[in-house]
Every structure is written in C-alpha cells, then in structure tokens.
C-alpha cells in the first residue's frame, strides 16, 4: 500500500513548501533577543494557523508556523507492543542526539513521537528544498527502520528458540 503513504508524504511536502517562508524577526518582548516565536507563542499576530495532516488515527503530522520558525511534530505508526517500544527507543535515541541533526528538537511535543524546529537561520544555511527532502526522507526511513527492526527481532527470536530446542534432540 505505497500509494496512501505517497499521498500523505506529498501533502506534507506541499504544506512545508508553503510554510517554510521564514525571515529574521527579533523578539518583541525582550530587546536584543531573537527567539523562535513558534515556541514562545506570546504574540498571536506572529503565528499562523497550525496544520494537522492525519494519515489515520495512529499517524499524523502537525505543522506549526510562525514568522521566524517552523515546528513539525510527527506521530509514527505503532501497530503492536513491540513496534511501540522499538519506535519509542529509536526516536528517544535520536532526540538525545539532536545536536547532530541541528533541526531536531530534544523533546517531542506532547502527544507526538518526534519534533523538528526549523528557524530562519537554518533556512539561510541550508537550501529549503533540501531541508524538506530531508524531513520527508526522515519520515520514510523511520517507518522502514522500525519495520526492519521488528522483523530482525522476530528472526533472532526464532533462531534462538531453534537453538534452545535443539538441545532436547
């Protein structure tokens, strides 16, 4: 069922292309400070309407935009308990190493599994299209990795079970 995934990712890509129009905007509250407005949410005139894209009840993407920053929060598919712990472990592993990704948030937004924070500085250092490609690629890779991990754990379990039962022969 690659088509529903493709449509979901295309919708996210199009939304990001529209939302990623960021510019430098110093903080209105504190002088000489420059903060991502999407995190503070103190000035409603600087915030755009958040967009929630749902593939199904379990998978969704929340895109919150402001004048100088953009926050993308993802909820990843978790079909059973094993996928649940694998997704939790993996995304927590990545979040703890957020400095390697620059655009990754250390703590996901409540109700989601992982969050990105893109500021105008990131848009200056990186090309917008490449950044959007990275986000979409990241989403695909996460799904793929969790499926592969689940299969590997099951395969390992099967092999170990066979080895244990061999002792009785």
């Amino acid at each position: 069922m690659a088509n529903p995934l493709k449509l979901y990712l295309t919708c996210i890509r199009n939304t990001l292309e529209a939302a990623m129009c960021l510019q430098n905007f110093p903080c209105q509250e504190v002088e000489r400070h420059n903060k991502p407005e999407v995190e503070l949410k103190t000035s409603p005139e600087l915030l755009l309407n958040p967009v929630l894209i749902c593939r199904n009840e379990a998978e969704k993407c929340l895109i919150e935009t402001s004048i100088n920053s953009l926050r993308i929060s993802l909820k990843v598919k978790q079909a059973d308990e094993l996928e649940n712990i694998l997704a939790k472990k993996f995304l927590r592993f990545l979040s703890m190493r957020a400095e390697a990704f620059q655009v990754l948030r250390r703590k996901p937004v409540q109700g989601y599994d992982i969050s990105f924070l893109i500021t105008n500085y990131h848009c200056e250092e990186m090309q917008k299209q490449k950044l959007i490609d990275f986000i979409v690629q990241f989403m695909e890779d996460i799904d793929k990795e969790i499926s592969e991990l689940k299969m590997s754990v099951s395969t390992r379990g099967r092999l170990v079970a066979s080895e244990f039962l061999k002792q009785f022969l």
Binding site: E81, L82, N84, I85, L86, K89, F90, F93, L94, R97, A100, F101, Q102, V103, E125, M126, Q127, K130, L131, D133, F134, Q137, F138, D141, E145, E148, L149, S152, V153, S154, R156, G157, R158, V160, A161, S162, F164, L165, Q167, F168, L169
Partner: protein, 370 residues
C-alpha cells in the same frame, strides 16, 4: 545458577594450581559464588590429599535437608572419578559435602584436565542430579498419591520454577519476571516464537512448549508472591523420550538454565537494537551533512563562478606543463651525470653555475673611458 558453564572457573584454577605444582603446597581457600554457594579447599604439604567442601542451596529444600544429599546424588558425584575422588563422611562442619582428592591417581594427559573440570562442576552435578532423579520417574507415577502437588525448585534465589507430575509426563513451569517493560515485550516475542517453532512438524520430538500470561491451573494454591509475574508463564512438557540415556543430562541442564538463556537473549537483543539505531542515525546525519555541503557549493556557483572556473583551468594547465618540463629536465640531468657524489649537486649549484648576464629589462652599456 545463572551461568551456562558448569565448572566454577575460580575453583578450577585453584585445583589446577595444586595439580600442576611440583611439590605439595599449602592451600586454604574459601570461595563464594552467586551469594550462596561456598567452597572450602584445603591442601597441606604434609598430606597427599586435597579436601574440597561444598555448601550450596539445594533445588528443593523440603525433603533433602532432613536426610542430607540423596544416595543418587552421592553416586553421581562419585562417578566423576572413581580413583581420584572419595566422599568423606561426615562432611566438614557447615558444609553439605566434603570430597577427598588424590591428584597422584589422576592420569598424566588431557584426561586429567577433564576430570579436574568435572570436579569443579560438582555444584552443577549436585543440583542437576536432584532434577534428574525427579525426571527419571516420569512413568512411575503412583496413583495412590492423589492430587499432584507442584514441587518448587530454586536454582536462582529470586527465580523459582515448578515441576508438576502428571500421567505420562512431567510439566516444568517457569514464572517469568523482568525489571524493564521493554524486556517483557522482547521476551514475550521470544516466547511466542518458541511456541511457534516447537509446534512445527520439524520439531515434533522436542518438549511441547506453552506460554500464557496467567498462571496455569496446576499452580492454584501456590503463594501469591511466587505467581505474580510480568512476563507470564512458560511451561515444558517432559515425556519419557526426553529423559532417555544421554538426553537426560541435556534436558536437565537446559531446564536449569532456561532463565539465564532468556535473560541472555534479551540482553543481546537490546545490544543489537542499539547498534542498528546507531548505524541508522549515522546514515541520517550523513544525508543532512551532504545536503549542507552541496548547498554551499551551489551558492558559489550561482554567484558568477563560471568565469573564475575557466581562468583557474587555464592557469592550472600552464603550471602543470611547467612542472612536467622541470621533471623531465631533472631526469635527463640524472641520466647524463652518471657519477654520483653526495653533496656535489648542491656544491655545483652554488659554485659551478654560470652567472646569467642577460637581463630581461635591458642591458647596461659600459662607458668608454678613452
């Protein structure tokens, strides 16, 4: 206990040291393992024997404490080495068994190492002999006993398991407990695979394996703290086929080490998941880094890079030609000057080169002083 090795490594090392010593040595060691197993090794220079005393919590505390070790267990211990090993009665105070070892009666080849290894595994022999005794009586179930009460066995202090006699088989039930929730999920996945593999046609001869999240009905009446688990209950049906001949030893050892096996598998799986996550993270970071580097290159190209590139190409070509010419000249000089004197090249360059009188700017005409 929670180990796959039957022999105690520390005990084996001490016994080998005594055996390999040229002269009898004084040894007086107390060894403690796993918090509850105690060994006492005593050897003196004046006596040719070495005494080994063992104290270990037994699998089933109920019957055996009153009468000491069963004759079957004692026979199993004697069978390790009939010549070199003897059981001392009564055992040393505070210990359940004392052995007298005569290393002079051991053969002087690889067989001696094997015997010493078996002596070092005496604790495993004691514990497995108790379970062997129970499993050997699979078909001799006495109908007059009525209800089959589960027998609680403790191989690891916090991990008891049960053996329940039934007509034509014995059921071993393992209540599984884990500290971490993720360990529970990984182990549950393993138990389901164990059930799937065991129920396939290829593995028809292995004990039937079953996993359930709730205690089996045979354990009704057991203490609540023993039945409260987070990993469910795994049970194996042992029939007479699994305890025939050499299979008895393997079956017993597999059952005693089932907890350790599961814990080891869970630990290895966690390590595997960690390694995969790390590798995937590296690949994701590389994708982001590549996009940043490419991005910088593209921006420079867009800002009138084309002309610069052309000019760079030209200058670098002429430099390359010049370099090649110099190399060729050097080579020719080397061939012409066959006699090599160390340091002469430098001397020649400094003192023997002809000065260059021609000037690119022009020449200075000498004034005629007539």
């Amino acid at each position: 206990m929670a180990t796959f090795e039957r022999a105690s490594p520390a005990l084996k090392e001490i016994l080998l040291r005594i055996y390999n010593a040229e002269k009898p040595i004084e040894v007086d060691h107390h060894l403690y393992e796993f918090g509850s197993v105690e060994y006492y090794i005593k050897s003196s220079a004046s006596e040719p024997f070495t005494y080994l005393s063992i104290s270990t919590p037994l699998l089933s505390q109920g019957v055996f404490l009153s009468y000491g070790l069963s004759p079957y267990t004692l026979q199993m211990v004697r069978d390790i080495s009939i010549d070199a090993l003897d059981i001392v009665e009564p055992p040393t105070d505070g210990y359940q068994l004392t052995l007298r070892l005569d290393f002079s009666k051991l053969p002087h080849d690889k067989e001696s190492l094997k015997i010493i290894t078996e002596v070092s595994s005496v604790q495993a022999v004691i514990l497995s002999s108790q379970l062997k005794e129970m499993l050997q009586n699979v078909n001799s179930w006495d109908i007059s006993q009525g209800m089959y009460k589960p027998i609680k066995l403790i191989y690891h202090p916090r991990e008891p398991f049960y053996v329940i006699r039934q007509p034509q088989k014995i059921v071993a039930v393992f209540p599984m407990r884990f500290k971490d929730h993720s360990d529970v999920i990984i182990a549950t996945s393993f138990f389901q695979e164990l059930m799937d593999v065991g129920s396939s046609g290829k593995w028809a001869k292995v004990p039937h394996c079953n996993w359930s999240p709730i205690p089996p009905p045979e354990l009704i009446g057991e203490p609540f703290e023993d039945l409260s688990t987070n990993g469910g209950f795994v049970s194996f049906d042992i029939s007479s086929h699994h305890v025939e001949g050499k299979r008895l030893d393997k079956t017993v050892w597999s059952l005693l080490n089932f907890y350790a096996y599961v814990k080891h598998h869970v630990k290895c799986t966690r390590g595997f998941i960690q390694r995969r996550m790390r590798r995937r993270m590296d690949s994701l970071v590389q994708v982001l880094e590549k996009s940043m580097i490419e991005e910088n290159g593209e921006i420079k190209k867009i800002k009138g890079w084309k002309k610069m590139k052309k000019w760079m190409r030209l200058t670098s070509k002429s430099k390359m030609i010049k370099r090649r010419y110099h190399d060729f000249r050097k080579k020719m000089k080397r061939i012409r000057f066959r006699i090599k004197i160390h340091g002469f090249a430098r001397f020649r360059r400094r003192w023997l080169t002809m000065p260059n009188f021609s000037s690119s700017m022009g020449y200075t005409q000498l004034k005629n002083n007539n």
